[in-house]
């Protein structure tokens, strides 16, 4: 059984003003059938480059990229793959109806089911009212929903989403997350990128943290943090005066302090003795710093 998508020691270098810039460095990962892989990293880290290589849009890389065992450079490998780019550019002269029809025709979906699928996905993404309107007249959020319908209507085995939640309002985000959850339930595989960990945390089974083209894989975000250093906690408390110079005053009488896990019990006892009022204790997550520490370790 081939993985839905596999990257094996993939490196890619761009020439920028006669200088070589390494966009990806020896990237290796697999997305197995039914698995959701969340690729997280800051802007310019190499997320979109990874996607573009997977979809055959970028060449000139070293290493091997395969979709269900077929080379990603072969267009036939994308037969069961759908893609939603960040801020998708769709033909603005087309209507959602025409766009969905085009996707079905190109993916050679049985003609008899075209009308049923179109109606299903237009309804699912609340697009019935705009189905016959030109895309140029629709809002950005609606166009994003059209792009998602366009990708999902062909029942892809592998769905590739580049920052799918950026630019959506809270209701839109909730709807899209639910749709992607349903897709996951149906056994689909997904490569999902975001620069916000929170966005992918809800959906992904496996995480990849990418920065400056270097990828670190983790089963969950916390495991990466645990590997790197002792976990830290952010403690907030109320006090009439600053009890320790390490406490940062957020507003009058409200302080925050970062405390390592092994010192937490002692700190709470110490706070109680000085009549400080505990407000909250939260894990202190600095993904970027953990990631950088991990890379340095490697």
């Amino acid at each position: 059984m081939f993985p839905a998508l596999s990257f094996n020691k993939v490196s890619k270098t761009f020439k920028v003003r006669a200088k070589s810039v390494e966009a990806l460095s020896d990237i290796t990962f697999d997305i197995h059938e039914g698995e959701i892989f969340g690729l997280v990293g800051p802007n310019g880290a190499g997320k979109s480059t990874t996607i573009k290589i997977a979809l055959g849009m970028l060449g000139g890389y070293t290493g091997d990229v395969r979709i269900y065992g077929n080379s990603a450079e072969d267009s036939n490998a994308r037969r069961h793959v759908s893609y939603v780019p960040e801020s998708p550019s769709l033909y603005e002269q087309f209507t959602p109806n025409e766009l969905l029809k085009t996707a079905l025709e190109i993916h050679k979906v049985d003609k008899a089911s075209h009308a049923r699928l179109r109606n299903l996905w237009l309804e699912r993404l609340s697009l019935e009212a705009v189905a016959s309107k030109r895309l140029r007249t629709l809002s950005k959020g609606t166009v994003q929903r059209v792009a998602l319908a366009h990708a999902l209507i062909v029942s892809p085995k592998l769905l590739v989403l580049d920052e799918p939640l950026s630019g959506l309002d809270p209701v839109g985000r909730k709807d899209v997350i639910q749709i992607l959850r349903d897709y996951k339930q149906s056994g689909g595989s997904m490569l999902l990128t975001s620069h916000v960990l929170y966005d992918v945390e809800e959906l992904a089974d496996k995480f990849g943290f990418i920065q400056d083209g270097v990828l670190e894989i983790a089963k969950n975000p916390n495991s990466l943090l645990m590997d790197v250093a002792a976990p830290l906690f952010s403690v907030r408390y109320h006090s009439l005066e600053n009890l320790t110079p390490d406490g940062v005053e957020l507003r009058a009488g409200l302080y925050e302090m970062t405390v390592p896990q092994d010192e937490l019990i002692n700190f709470l006892g110490w706070l109680n003795e000085r009549q400080g009022l505990l407000i909250s204790i939260k894990p202190f997550v600095s993904l970027e710093s953990a990631f950088l520490a991990k890379v340095r370790q490697a």
Partner: protein
């Protein structure tokens, strides 16, 4: 080809830019220009009308070819539609060919519509005055339009190539028009210099330059056989027009192959 979705998308994109309105405008413009020109000619109204109409058609086909190439290729990359289009399970070669075929189908349709408009205008004009030498709207006219369709093939291939490498749509327009004008006129300039070597200083210098262009571009004026239809005689038709037609076809196929090669290796950043 109709069953190929990319071909249908190409047709739809071209039609959505207002193709039918543009074509109707060209047909009316062509018929109007032919009629007006015929009215200003005392003794050869039909010949003049046909001549002007055919010149108008060459210009209209050039513009349509450029507009289609801009819409189907330049805009595709400029507006990043290609991020979705080229993620489909179709090869880039098929993408270029299907779209080229869609644009060319519409160019052929445009040729037919304009040819018909011109016939109507010429017949209308010829009723006002009986010429000594009548125009031939039969087979010579059909052949004239076949070679205009071949010229359209070349123009579209040239515009497609520029559209695939261009960073701006103005570049497609200027480069295609520029090279089209050179391809249409360099042989006439060469003949002129050969006939009268006092026309310019250092005619040899010009001649070498123009002959070099002859290797880089096909001679489009050599496939303009309108004289056969205008004078109902093959006397004024360029010699070896059929050989020149093969040359134009070869150049067009070469340009199209280069466009495919470029798109095939294009990185979508």
């Amino acid at each position: 080809m109709m069953g190929v979705p990319e071909y249908t998308v190409g047709l739809r994109l071209c039609i959505r830019i207002g193709f039918l309105k543009i074509l109707a405008g060209f047909c009316l413009g062509l018929a109007g220009a032919a009629w007006l020109a015929g009215e200003f000619s005392g003794r050869q109204p039909a010949t003049v009308a046909l001549d002007v109409g055919l010149s108008f058609a060459h210009f209209a086909i050039l513009l349509l070819g450029i507009v289609f190439a801009q819409e189907l290729f330049a805009k595709e990359f400029e507006r990043k539609y290609s991020l979705i289009t080229l993620s489909y399970p179709i090869s880039r070669r098929r993408f270029v060919l299907a779209r080229f075929a869609a644009a060319y189908t519409l160019l052929i349709g445009s040729c037919l519509a304009m040819a018909l408009s011109l016939v109507i205008a010429t017949i209308f004009v010829s009723q006002s005055y009986e010429q000594a030498r009548v125009v031939d709207l039969g087979l010579p006219y059909v052949w004239t339009w076949c070679l205009i369709a071949l010229e359209a093939f070349f123009v579209l291939a040239l515009a497609t190539l520029f559209a695939c490498v261009a960073r701006s749509q103005a570049f497609v327009l200027l480069s295609t028009v520029g090279l089209f004008v050179v391809a249409r006129s360099f042989s006439a300039m060469l003949s002129l210099i050969e006939m009268d070597r006092t026309l310019v200083e250092q005619p040899g210098h010009y001649q070498v330059g123009l002959e070099t262009i002859g290797f880089l571009l096909p001679d489009l004026s050599a496939i303009d056989i309108r004289a056969a239809s205008l004078y109902a005689s093959m006397t004024f038709v360029p010699e070896n027009w059929w050989l020149s037609s093969l040359s134009v076809l070869f150049y067009a196929l070469m340009l199209l192959s280069i466009a495919i090669f470029i798109v095939d290796r294009k990185d979508l950043i």
